[in-house]
Symmetry: C2
Subunit: 201 residues, 2 copies
Amino acid sequence: MADTISTPTDSKPRGRPRSRASREAILLAALKLLIRDGYEKLTIEGVAREAGTGKSTIYRWWDGRSDLAVEAFFSAIDETLELHESGSAEDDFRAQILGMAGQLRGPAGRAFAAMLVGGRENPAVASAVRKRWLDPRRDWARMRMAWAAEAGQLQDGVEPRAALALLYSPLYSPLLFGNDVPSDKDLRACFDLAARAIFRR
Amino acid sequence: MADTISTPTDSKPRGRPRSRASREAILLAALKLLIRDGYEKLTIEGVAREAGTGKSTIYRWWDGRSDLAVEAFFSAIDETLELHESGSAEDDFRAQILGMAGQLRGPAGRAFAAMLVGGRENPAVASAVRKRWLDPRRDWARMRMAWAAEAGQLQDGVEPRAALALLYSPLYSPLLFGNDVPSDKDLRACFDLAARAIFRR
DNA sequence: GCCATGCGAAACGGTACCGTCTCGCATGCG
DNA sequence: CGCATGCGAGACGGTACCGTTTCGCATGGC
């Protein structure tokens, strides 16, 4: 027993190896159902049916639907956190927001909304999205805004909190109404308008 | 048979009259559960349990949970549509947005989000909220913005669509994250910031 | 070839809710 | 009073999914 512990990178799995194909089919099916029906209606039996696998395979590798939903979501979303730190706060925020829109466009955005809103049953679902995706971006934005304020790049009387809400809200609010994230064109129009009021230039 | 039709305001209900108390208990219970658990988990048996009534009473007066949810929601929200039409577009929009925030504050806002987002099963749920609450307000806003544009009250190069998105998004976006509608103070801060970029003054 | 493990299929008992129905009592009108 | 209707309680058969378990075959290391 001691030696099974002693080697941390044990790579001698003895029986039949885990099926890559099943794993992927399950995650894909979960994502599809998550988007189509929302988190509340995501069901293990439904995923198994859709994926063409047995329920036992799902229960062997995942704890339950919250676990599965979280993994399906993050397998579908681009988690890259780009840090734009040019001299211009306006350029940095624009790049950040358009980048986030790109990550949320399409299926990922639907799943994003479904996870945030449907996670009443299991708060871990919404909270996983917050901690792993939302919080890092929000933290970056706050830091960047504080830096801009220090550097005198904000117009007089601009509250950083309000400025952040104004810049980011147009990205999110359509998701509440079942719409997709706005197009880059629309997003730029909103951003440029808000930027007029916020940044010194 | 002819005379039962002939009198349109027939007010001779013959048996035991409908119980006001039950009706109110049911709507209240439905609202409570709608807010607590979301639309998807709103269940007739749950409402009957919470309200202390029989299921049959609910089925007698409502078609099902979508019907019940819609009535519960609108019984809780202030539907007053205030038309602010002073000379100043900025003042009118500010009043409109703060007014809407007041209507959505508290339980109503939670129910609002629950209805919009949970209405995948029965599109009639989300669409009732849109048609009866959202659309009239959106239509007013578009008209008011067009009027402001004609009157030369907008700054150069302001697209009405983008301006509306910018003004209203901060009101809605917190609902996506399970938060309440912003406080008047926060909302004013956002609005005043956006207004700097939009309105001529 | 042996053996450990993964796989899909399917059955299991259990839970929750559906929408309908029946019952016996309550309530009001004439 | 008699009668029509509303009410709460709860039984009913049906559906969907839960999470577990058993089965027989598949897959790979030794």
